[in-house]
C-alpha cells in the first residue's frame, strides 16, 4: 500500500546542510493503522509530507498503491493526492470563510462531479463524524474537537484508501482527543482505510496496530500491538 525505499530528505542552505530523513524504509499494508512517534524535529512531519506527496524526497522511492511516484508532474501528483489520500492536520487547516459543508466539499471540487453528488457525499461524511447538524456553520463557530471532526469529514469525503494524520489530537483535550481517535479507529476497522498517524501521545499510539519511533531521521524502534 505504502512503500518508502531508502528515502532521504536533506534541507540545504548556502552554509548548512540539514538531514531530516536518512535512508528511511517503510512498508505499510492495506488496512493497517500505523502511528509514528518521536521528539520534535526528528522528521515525523517531513516523513508524512513525503508519504502524502506534499514534499519530494531528496533521494529514494515512494510507492503508493503500487505506483512508483517518481517523475510525476505537478498535475499528476495533484490528481493522485485527490483520488487516494486524505489529510488531517494538527491545526485543522479549514478555510474560515467557507461553511462546514463547503470545506468538506473541497476535495470533490477537483473531481468531475455534480453539485448534488458533492453535497450528498459531504453530508454523508459529516454524518459519519456526527456533525450533520452543523453543515451551515462556519469553522470559527465550532469547538476544536468539532473542527477536527470537520477536517476528518473532509479527509474521508473522497473515499481515499490512505489517510495521513499529523498530530490530529495535538490541539485537543483528552476527551476530545479520544473522540477523534475513536472516529479514526472506526474508519480503519469498518472501512479498511489505511491510516498513518504522527502523534506525541503514547496512549493514542497504543491503540493503533503498529508504532514506529523516529529519531534524528532514522527508525529507532518498531512495535506491533494485538488488540
Amino acid at each position: 500500500m505504502i512503500s518508502l525505499q531508502n528515502v532521504e530528505k536533506v534541507y540545504q542552505t548556502t552554509s548548512i546542510e540539514t538531514v531530516a530523513l536518512d535512508g528511511i524504509n517503510l512498508e505499510v499494508q492495506q488496512g493497517e493503522f500505523l502511528s509514528i512517534m518521536g521528539p520534535s524535529g526528528c522528521g515525523k512531519s517531513t516523513l508524512l509530507n513525503i508519504m502524502g506527496l506534499l514534499d519530494e524526497p531528496s533521494a529514494g522511492d515512494v510507492i503508493l498503491n503500487g505506483s512508483k511516484i517518481t517523475g510525476y508532474s505537478n498535475k499528476q501528483l495533484a490528481r493522485f493526492r485527490n483520488q487516494n489520500i486524505g489529510f488531517i492536520f494538527q491545526s485543522y487547516h479549514l478555510i474560515n470563510d467557507l461553511k462546514v459543508i463547503d470545506n468538506v466539499e473541497l476535495p470533490l471540487l477537483y473531481r468531475n462531479m455534480s453539485r448534488k453528488e458533492r453535497y450528498d457525499l459531504s453530508v454523508e461524511a459529516l454524518t459519519k463524524v456526527g456533525l450533520k447538524n452543523r453543515i451551515d456553520h462556519f469553522p470559527n463557530q465550532l469547538s476544536g474537537g468539532q473542527r477536527q471532526r470537520v477536517a476528518i469529514a473532509r479527509a474521508i469525503v473522497g473515499k481515499p484508501t490512505i489517510i495521513l494524520a499529523d498530530e490530529p489530537t495535538g490541539n485537543l483535550d483528552s476527551r476530545m482527543g479520544n473522540e477523534i481517535m475513536d472516529i479514526l479507529l472506526k474508519l480503519n476497522e469498518e472501512e479498511g482505510t489505511t491510516i498513518v498517524m504522527v502523534t506525541h501521545d503514547e496512549s493514542m499510539a497504543l491503540k493503533t496496530h503498529r508504532l514506529a519511533r523516529l529519531f534524528d531521521g532514522t527508525w529507532v524502534e518498531e512495535k506491533a500491538f494485538q488488540h
Binding site: R81, N82, L94, L98, R111
Partner: protein, 391 residues
C-alpha cells in the same frame, strides 16, 4: 466552482471592502475616460456635411471704398470669376465660413419651439461649392430674388427640433424676432466649426439668401485639381486689378482645417496623457492590491493543493476570484454609469455612454487578468509544505 467563488467572495465581503472600492473607483475613472474619448471619436467620424477639398478662400476687405463703388466692384468680381473656364464654381458668403473662428448665432422660434442656431449668409452657389446634400425641398435659386417672403434653408437638426422631422419643415414658417421666414429646404447638418465640434444645439444651422454688399464677404473658389497652381496667381492678380484698394487675403480651406484640427488636438493630447496616467495608476493600484490579497492566502493555497488542486487550478481559481471581486465593484459602478445615458447627462448620445461602459468593463476585466496572473501564478508554485505553514 463559480457558485463557490461567489459564495467565498460574499462571505469575505467585509475583508474585501477596500478592493470593491478600488474596482468601483477604477471603473468610474475608465468610464469617464472612455466617454470622453468615444465622444471625441464620434465627432471626428461624423460627416461634416460639406466637402472642403480644393476650395480656395479669398477674404475681401474693401477698406474705405465709397459705398456706391462696392456693389459695382463685387459685380465686376463675379463676372470675372465666371470668365474662368477652369473654375468649377465659386460662392460669396458671410465671414463664418468652414473652419473659421467667426460665428453668428441667433434665436429662432415656431409656435411651440425655440432654438439657437448658427446663421449663415450665403448665395445660390454655396450648396454646389460645398457639395451640401439637400435632404428635403431645395436650395436657393433665382426664383427667391422675387419672392414675397424671406426664404431660409435649415439643417436637419434644426428642422427636427422645430418641426419633428425634416420633411415636415418644408413650407413652414420660422420667426426671427419680428421677421417671418419660410423654410424652402433642409440640408445635412453643416458642422462648419470642424470635426471636433458638435455645433449649436447639436448642429442647428439656418441659411439666409443674402446680397453681400453690406459686409466684407468671403469669396470661395472651387478649382480643378490640376489647374489649381497656375490659376491661383492669375486670379489673385485679376482681383487686385479689379479692386485695387481692397485688402485681399488668400488661403486654402484644407489649410484652415488643418490649423483648426491642430488647435483641437492640443487639449485632446493633454487629456489623453492625463487619462493614460490615470490608467497606469489604476493598473498599479490593482496590481498592488491583488498581490497583497493573494499573498495573504498562501495558507489556503496550501490546503487546496493538499486536497488535490493543481497549480493551474489554483491560478485559475485566484484569477476567477479576482474577476468575481471585480464584478461586485462593477455592479455598483454600473448602477451609477447607467444613469448617464438615462438622464442624458452632458447631452452625449446613449451610444457613447453604452460604448464607454462596455469598454470600461472589458478594460477592468483585462486589467484584473493581467494584474492577478503573476501573483496567482507565483503563489500556486509555492511548495505545499511551506504554504501550509502560513495557515
Amino acid at each position: 466552482m463559480i457558485r463557490l467563488l461567489f459564495k467565498l467572495i460574499w462571505n469575505q465581503r467585509r475583508k474585501h471592502f477596500g478592493i470593491f472600492f478600488e474596482f468601483f473607483f477604477s471603473f468610474l475613472v475608465l468610464f469617464a475616460v472612455f466617454s470622453f474619448g468615444f465622444s471625441y471619436l464620434k465627432q471626428y467620424l461624423s460627416p461634416l456635411g460639406f466637402d472642403y477639398k480644393d476650395i480656395w478662400v479669398v477674404e475681401l476687405d474693401w477698406n474705405d471704398t465709397p459705398e456706391e463703388e462696392i456693389s459695382e466692384t463685387l459685380t465686376l468680381l463675379k463676372n470675372q470669376m465666371l470668365s474662368y473656364g477652369q473654375i468649377e464654381t465659386f460662392s460669396f458668403s458671410g465671414k463664418n465660413i468652414p473652419f473659421s473662428t467667426s460665428s453668428a448665432i441667433d434665436e429662432f422660434s415656431t409656435e411651440g419651439e425655440q432654438v439657437d442656431a448658427d446663421v449663415f449668409k450665403v448665395d445660390d452657389r454655396f450648396a454646389e461649392l460645398f457639395a451640401v446634400n439637400v435632404q428635403e425641398g431645395r436650395w436657393f435659386g433665382e426664383e427667391d430674388a422675387v419672392s414675397t417672403y424671406s426664404p431660409v434653408v435649415l439643417t436637419a437638426s434644426m428642422a427636427e427640433q422645430l418641426f419633428g422631422s425634416t420633411a415636415a419643415a418644408i413650407e413652414q414658417q420660422v420667426q426671427l424676432r419680428e421677421q417671418t421666414l419660410k423654410v424652402v429646404g433642409v440640408v445635412d447638418n453643416f458642422r462648419y466649426r470642424g470635426e471636433f465640434s458638435r455645433g449649436v444645439g447639436g448642429g442647428n444651422g439656418i441659411f439666409f439668401r443674402k446680397d453681400l454688399d453690406s459686409n466684407p464677404p468671403i469669396l470661395m473658389v472651387k478649382v480643378d485639381q490640376e489647374a489649381k497652381a497656375s490659376l491661383e496667381a492669375t486670379i489673385r492678380q485679376d482681383l487686385r486689378s479689379i479692386a485695387p484698394g481692397w485688402v485681399i487675403e488668400t488661403n486654402y480651406l484644407s489649410d484652415l482645417r488643418n490649423k483648426k484640427l491642430r488647435s483641437a488636438l492640443v487639449p485632446l493630447a493633454i487629456v489623453l496623457i492625463i487619462s493614460g496616467f490615470l490608467l497606469v495608476n489604476v493598473a498599479l493600484g490593482l496590481f498592488g492590491l491583488l498581490w497583497q490579497s493573494i499573498s495573504k492566502r498562501r495558507g489556503e493555497i496550501g490546503i487546496r493543493k493538499s486536497m488535490g488542486s493543481s497549480n493551474t487550478e489554483i491560478t485559475i481559481q485566484l484569477i476567477g476570484e479576482m474577476l468575481v471581486l471585480a464584478s461586485f465593484g462593477l455592479i455598483i459602478g454600473l448602477f451609477f454609469a447607467i444613469q448617464f445615458p438615462i438622464l442624458n447627462v452632458f447631452g452625449l448620445s446613449s451610444s457613447v455612454y453604452v460604448g464607454a461602459i462596455i469598454a470600461a468593463v472589458a478594460s477592468i476585466y483585462l486589467l484584473v487578468i493581467l494584474c492577478a496572473y503573476f501573483p496567482s501564478n507565483q503563489a500556486s508554485k509555492l511548495p505545499i509544505a511551506n504554504a501550509l505553514r502560513f495557515e
